[in-house]
């Protein structure tokens, strides 16, 4: 049983990412879908930080990248929730099934 190394972090990240993708494809609730996307982004963050720690220990590029990703994710969620609100105002639902005002 090897010491916890890069590959462990990468594995966790990959699993997290797949989890996100799974949620993205299966969930029918917009909020849940946003959460799945957050999972994917966090998987990326994990990757970044892990790489930064193990590949470039003296440069902080990876962590920097992670910070930007976090920010962007926050912005995306903010905008996303706002849009979901306006959808909700229109048709009192947050289910993707109802997003059919145009040919999907």
């Amino acid at each position: 049983m090897a010491a916890i190394g890069l590959e462990h972090y990468l594995t966790v990240a990959a699993l997290l990412f797949c989890l996100g993708v799974y949620g993205l494809l299966t969930k029918r609730n917009l909020v849940a879908i946003l959460m799945s996307i957050e999972l994917m982004l966090n998987a990326v963050n994990l990757n970044m930080v892990a790489f930064s720690r193990f590949i470039t220990p003296d440069a902080f590029v990876g962590q920097l990248f992670a910070v930007f990703t976090i920010t962007v994710a926050a912005a995306e969620v903010a905008v996303g929730l706002a849009l979901i609100f306006s959808i909700y105002r229109d048709r009192a639902t947050t289910s993707t099934e109802e997003l059919d005002w145009m040919k999907w």
């Binding site: 998987a43 995306e76 905008v79």
Partner: protein, 472 residues
């Protein structure tokens, strides 16, 4: 560190803040068109100033941000796209009161994002610029609060866009992890055959295939284009696509150029699929916005062929064609905006008899569409000539043949619109004529499209100079 290299970006952001602030200070009731013209003026100034940046070839922040001819050219393309768009969107923007100011402000922020993309020389900068563009577009697509379709389109764009961003980021993280750097030239130096690198490149390509709306990642395009306000649809079609191509080309020709994978083949497949699917699907459309959406998928396919050629000629083709595509789409969407504003519909039926009510708009639409189809003597023909010459040069015979045949097939659905405009009698609904600014936009697009088709030499010369960027 020479901040003056950042002038275009800084001024754009400042202008955005200024417009928003001004909008706050203006009394609520007053019309906001002045803001639009102010924005236009500012952009014109930046456009002129950009000429002074040719030939600098400097970089900032330790090579993270390059100001080379390539970047400058694309910035000017974006600026042209935004100026034309604002020209024909002043009236649409009036409809967004009391959020007119925000409308222009957000447009400017997205423009700033594109400028950063064009100059980005490392993955982080690239990512930040791209997200600035994308997130503002999420808002802008859903900007039409009165229309449920708009917010629906916004949500769809957001979800798919965010997901594609995640995929792209995952690819970036792998590339970074494998090469230990995010700066493109260094990546090129350290990249070698490995599963990690391969997955990274593939994810990267997938993420950007979404942004440029290439099949099979471009399936969001029809809905989003249909739902979004016309000016935003136009910007998505012209500027956003152009920016993504700027990045894609730069990354693949600097970072992945020598990657030990036959990526031109993958891109060739993407291009072929986009050309076929886009054109065939467009034939079935009855809504002009959706029709233009599918045609823009096809256009992405044509542009990708330039990347397949992966050489100075190919880049030149991409650059030249991007500019022409901006000119053409500006005209087409200007007409769409006029018809939308005055008949409230985007169906082909709403275009009946346009030739009678407004010959100029009808002519502009016809020329724009035929230029997209690549009919001489319009600009599109020359553009396709450059693109397909480049791939033929590299021996991609089938791709060029497919490209030409498909563009001739596309004439079919473009002519359906032309037929409606010239053959049909005005059907009851008020016929569009557009406001003065809009007509100017249409006229400008018409003139540019014809001019670049009849005498392409100046633009082509500039393009070939810019295309040398990656190949000294």
């Amino acid at each position: 560190m020479d901040l003056s290299l950042l002038t275009t970006e800084i001024v754009t952001v400042a202008l955005a803040c200024f417009v928003v602030a001004l909008d706050l200070l203006m009394p609520a009731g007053e019309p906001r068109r002045a803001l639009g013209y102010l924005t236009l003026l500012g952009l014109a100034g930046i456009f002129v100033h950009a000429f002074t940046q040719y030939g600098l070839n400097a970089s900032l922040y330790g090579g993270m941000f390059r100001v080379d001819d390539y970047a400058v050219f694309f910035k000017q393309v974006f600026l042209a796209a935004y100026m034309l768009t604002i020209l024909f969107s002043v009236r649409t923007a009036d409809g967004f009161a009391p959020y007119t100011g925000e409308f222009y402000g957000l447009m400017l922020f997205s423009l700033a994002g594109m400028m950063v993309m064009a100059s980005a020389n490392d993955l982080v900068t690239l990512f930040v610029g791209m997200e600035l563009m994308t997130i503002t577009f999420f808002v802008l697509v859903g900007f039409n609060l009165g229309d449920g379709k708009s917010s629906e389109a916004g949500v769809k764009y957001l979800i798919l866009g965010a997901a594609s961003t995640a995929v792209l980021l995952y690819g970036m993280s792998l590339i970074y992890g494998y090469t230990g750097t995010v700066v493109l030239p260094e990546i090129a130096a350290r990249l070698s055959a490995s599963p990690a690198a391969l997955v990274g490149i593939v994810f990267f390509l997938a993420g950007f295939a979404f942004k440029i709306a290439a099949v099979p990642f471009g399936m969001w395009v029809p809905d989003v284009y249909e739902g979004a306000p016309v000016p935003i649809t136009a910007l998505l079609a012209m500027a956003s696509k152009a920016a993504s191509f700027a990045v894609l080309t730069r990354v693949f020709l600097t970072a992945f150029a020598d990657a030990p994978y036959n990526w031109p083949l993958i891109i060739a497949w993407l291009a072929a699929a986009s050309m076929i699917a886009g054109n065939l699907a467009a034939i079935l459309q009855t809504n002009v916005k959706r029709l233009l959406a599918y045609s823009s998928i096809a256009q992405a396919g044509y542009l990708l062929t330039g990347l397949v050629a992966a050489g100075p000629d190919g880049v030149k083709g991409i650059i030249f064609y991007t500019a022409l595509y901006v000119f053409a789409s500006a005209g087409a969407f200007a007409v769409v905006a006029a018809v939308r504003d005055e008949t409230g519909s985007d169906d082909i039926a709403a275009y009946r008899g346009l030739a009678r009510s407004s010959p100029l708009l009808a002519a502009a639409m016809t020329v724009a569409l035929l230029s997209m189809a690549g009919i001489p003597p319009l600009a599109g023909f020359v553009g396709k000539l450059y693109l397909f010459l480049a791939v033929l040069e590299k021996g991609w015979f089938w791709l060029a043949l497919l490209g030409f045949v498909m563009s001739m097939v596309s004439v079919y659905y473009y002519l359906l619109v032309v037929k409606a405009m010239y053959l049909g009698e005005p059907a009851g609904a008020p016929t569009a004529d557009g406001c003065a600014a809009l007509r100017w936009a249409a006229l400008a697009s018409l003139a540019l499209t014809v001019l670049c088709g009849v005498y392409p030499t100046p633009l082509a010369a500039l393009a070939s100079r810019v295309a040398q960027n990656f190949f000294q």
